[in-house]
Structures are given as structure tokens and as C-alpha cells.
Symmetry: C2
Subunit: 142 residues, 2 copies
């Protein structure tokens, strides 16, 4: 059944959840070739582009809690794609050579994801939606 045909389609709760799950799935497919979840992939790209970046800052950028970031980094460190180096109370995160090598592929995946959803939704259309959703998300911050 289509989301918009559901009796519950008018509720923000279901609609936002259903949309996020579908986008998640599309993203997972797009990053399947690097064997990383979309969140892991974004985080790794972030670290490669900003070596030494700290977990707290990543959480702000990605709108994820510190504990989630910590778990994501842990897995990437286990896979030897990055290292965490504690400096006092903070932690600096650096990509490993193995991590850096992945960058071109990561970028390709990102481009494919973007292309794919633009094909499905339209470029203008999806940009507008994303902007709109971002603004709404901000308003919902209590």
C-alpha cells in the first residue's frame, strides 16, 4: 500500500517515519559496495575531509547524539579506517591510509545516491523538500 493511501497518512508521525525508512533503504543500497552503512560512510568522509575532528562536532553536524557517534567511530576504528587519539578530555579522530584510500569510492557512492533520488523525485523538487524538512526539524527543537 502506498503511504498516501493509508488512513494514517495524514499523521506527521507515520509519514516522517515511513519516508525516513525508505530513504534509509535507498541510501543503504547506494553505499553497499563499500560495505558501510550510510552513517558510517558520511562519518568517514567527514573525518577524511577534516582530519583531527572531534566526536562532539561530528554529532552536531550529523544531528546524532554523542553515544551514537561513539558507536559509529568504534566500528570504523575496528575496521582500521580511522583512529581515535585522546588528548586530554577531547578526542581527535584521524583517517588511516586505508580509510583515505576509500575516499574516491565514497564520493562515487554519494554521487550515485544523489543522482538516484534526483531521478526519482526531481532535482528541484527534492531540494525544496530537503530545505523544508530541515526548517521543520529546526522548529521542532525544544
Amino acid at each position: 500500500m502506498k503511504t498516501s493511501e493509508s488512513k494514517y497518512c495524514k499523521c506527521l508521525y507515520f509519514t516522517s517515519g515511513a519516508l525516513a525508512r525508505k530513504v534509509e533503504k535507498l541510501a543503504q543500497q547506494s553505499w553497499a559496495k563499500v560495505n558501510l552503512s550510510p552513517s558510517h560512510a558520511y562519518l568517514l568522509m567527514m573525518v577524511i575531509e577534516n582530519p583531527g575532528m572531534q566526536p562532539g562536532c561530528m554529532g552536531e553536524q550529523l544531528q546524532l547524539t554523542p553515544s551514537t557517534i561513539s558507536r559509529l567511530l568504534q566500528k570504523l576504528e575496528d575496521s582500521k579506517l580511522l583512529v581515535r587519539i585522546s588528548e586530554g578530555k577531547a578526542t581527535n579522530v584521524y583517517p588511516t591510509p586505508k580509510g583515505k584510500e576509500l575516499m574516491p569510492t565514497l564520493k562515487t557512492c554519494l554521487a550515485e545516491f544523489y543522482t538516484r533520488y534526483c531521478e526519482i523525485l526531481g532535482k528541484e523538487e527534492s531540494a525544496k523538500l530537503v530545505q523544508n524538512m530541515g526548517q521543520v526539524a529546526d522548529k521542532l527543537d525544544v
Copy 2:
């Protein structure tokens, strides 16, 4: 940091995820007084309004997989709010008296949730967004 200020704000992946998480939180607060998660609450309301309804149908309405529905029902059955009665390969789900008693409170929670997000986002505005998101979710069905 605001979602729309993130460097990654332009990506459908993060924006839809961040929005869904914020809506989830708001909904959880709205249903806290019945001690049910929003999904459990919706499912229970659905069963009360459609006694005998089958899990497969619920999944279509709520855009959730059979396994998720099964788990949700299991918990509601454990709490004696509904019963599952197998009839051949299908299963019929009925509210218990204890479940039915909850209906007025459930409706109040739903109304509060709706009122709350309409206050924050505007009635027109949020209706438009929900409609838009629903249409986009449909397009993403592969």
C-alpha cells in the same frame, strides 16, 4: 546545532532521519501518559476501531513490516490490551476490555500530539508537508 546549519543539511538522508527522530520524540512525549510508544498506541487504536483486523493489513496501513507488527502486537498482548486469535493461516486481533477502556485517553494523546505540532509548525504548513512527504515516500517505492 540546527539541522539547516549543518554542512550536511542538503542531503536527503540526514534531513529525513533528523526530522523523523525529532517527530518520534515529540510523539513519545505525547503518549507518555498511557505508557505506550506511539506505534503501540496507533496499533491499539486501530484494533479498537477495527476489531478482528489482521496483522498483514495493519502493516500496510502503518507501513511497517510483518515482523515489526508481530513484535508490537506481542507486547500489547503481554500487557493484556489485546488478544490474537489464530484462524487457519490468518490471525484476528481483538481489543480486550482493558484495551477498550484506554480509547478515550488514546484519543486525547493523539489530539494533543496533533495540536502540539500544529502549534509549532502551523496547521496549513504541516498538512502540506505531510502530504508532500507522503507523495515522495510513494515515489521511493521500488
